[in-house]
Symmetry: C2
Subunit: 330 residues, 2 copies
Amino acid sequence: MMIRFGIIGTNTITEKFVKAARLAEGAEIAAVYSRTEARANEYADKLGIEHRFTSLDEMLQSDAIDAVYVASPNAYHAGHAMACMEHGKHVLCEKPAASNARELREMIEAAKRNDVLFMEALKSTLMPNFTAIRNNLHKIGRVRRFFASYCQYSSRYDAYKQGTVMNAFKPELSNGSLMDIGVYCVYPAAVLFGKPNAVQAEAYMLESGVDGNGSLILKYGDLDAVLSYSKISNSYVPSEIQGEEGSIVINHISEPSQVRIHYRDGRVEDITDGSQIEDNMMYEVQEFVSLLAQGKLESEVNSHASSLAAMEVMDEARRQIGLVYPADAN
Amino acid sequence: MMIRFGIIGTNTITEKFVKAARLAEGAEIAAVYSRTEARANEYADKLGIEHRFTSLDEMLQSDAIDAVYVASPNAYHAGHAMACMEHGKHVLCEKPAASNARELREMIEAAKRNDVLFMEALKSTLMPNFTAIRNNLHKIGRVRRFFASYCQYSSRYDAYKQGTVMNAFKPELSNGSLMDIGVYCVYPAAVLFGKPNAVQAEAYMLESGVDGNGSLILKYGDLDAVLSYSKISNSYVPSEIQGEEGSIVINHISEPSQVRIHYRDGRVEDITDGSQIEDNMMYEVQEFVSLLAQGKLESEVNSHASSLAAMEVMDEARRQIGLVYPADAN
């Protein structure tokens, strides 16, 4: 079985996707959509993609594709994904899956109504090293804390300080630090521990209207998650899951490539999965394609519930920090 | 000038103090107070201390001492320190300086009224490596986040799980994770950035009535501090101050012995002060003695304002997590 992808978006992330998808078994990049013909052709020629569309409707009506990778700006995810699903196409949707939980609920309903697979393309939780974390979590005893830090100074912040507000800092595109970067901290918490009982949020708001950085505490019964993210400073500390018997130290939460358990008695166990490849977007494609091969319409890891829990955390955090998107008003 | 110390408390921490104080210039351990004569004598003989008292009043009326190191349980700090100061003795008071800010304000007033030096014995901020952090802070540009983690599984938690509640987990002694361990995260924030505008707190409460662990977000205008502490799990991640141009990574916030600046352009600058000695309680004694030698009655680092800011953060955190001490009712 070969899943033929159409792509919405012709940017750096879709280029990476095409490259990674070609490493996955059972995936094929069949078409690309861009509003302008020149852009569609340039992109398709460069990456060797057969079909190119300037009408989304035409791509979605076409028999050339089975699924769509949605990588438009965040604010358009819901609209694009819904259109795809209403045309019976499976959807792999870039993170964050939507602008808010209301949109996401509609998307999940559309997936069910149309019997299609809908999965959020949050890559880290599908990597072998995240699987290693999940498989070894029982070794550290009662989990007491998840700490995740993803802070990466954005070159777009340089532009911002020079007076140019690029997409990454535009509220009208449902962007900002929490949605672009913070999601890499929130989503693993959702996968590992589900929906928290309470959220506390703090952020530094830029004048453009989005958050430059932020911090969250999520409260789950017997454990808390402390999440820090930023597009205006860098972090050089690893992330960590603390249990009563040991702690799992994760070098990069967005791209775990080294994972070690430090036991309380001093032992250190390296649980890194050495098989993880560098083009690590491959794993989300592989998951998506494997699910379809098995006739499944939902991932057990990047499940609808995980996506919804993460989005509800982000909604609540945005409510507390006063970050409102135009999409929230719909 | 030689400052002759009397000591309140005959425990592990006072033993370390005696050892460290003997490395400081201008300090002498002259007396010890314990309620029981046997204990006082045993302790004084073991450590070679001349005077021993079983009456606190007698020690405080004695001309054999100039200052007192208060290292009784947290709940007794205020009472002991006030008594010392009313007798004209300078006070070096173990952290946390008091059970709450109300007590601490009374202590500061007593210090001023009696013209004595009052300083909180929070050791880390007086270490050469913390001075290195302060002296180099300007290099990292606008500071955006302070992250501090101090999580250390307590052997007393093993006892706790076996059914024995030791002092460290007793609310009547004003103990628990925030006061015992968290203060090492809160105090540096107070020294570096002062009193925050807002505090958000979360904790896991033990049945004994104290917090087993907790997390705080402190909001300061353009930066936040994220603080995590625990007595029921270990952490293996360093602490960090994130600036727009670089981040300072601190190996242990309670005992910094390696401090490095990671600049955004990839450069790494080691700003570790290699002169820092292992018996690092020495530095708090040295600060205290040096202040007296200069005729000063307050530290510029562990200032009254720093202690008060830290205590007010802890009061507010305790209010939010519902951690009430008997001392709060006085």
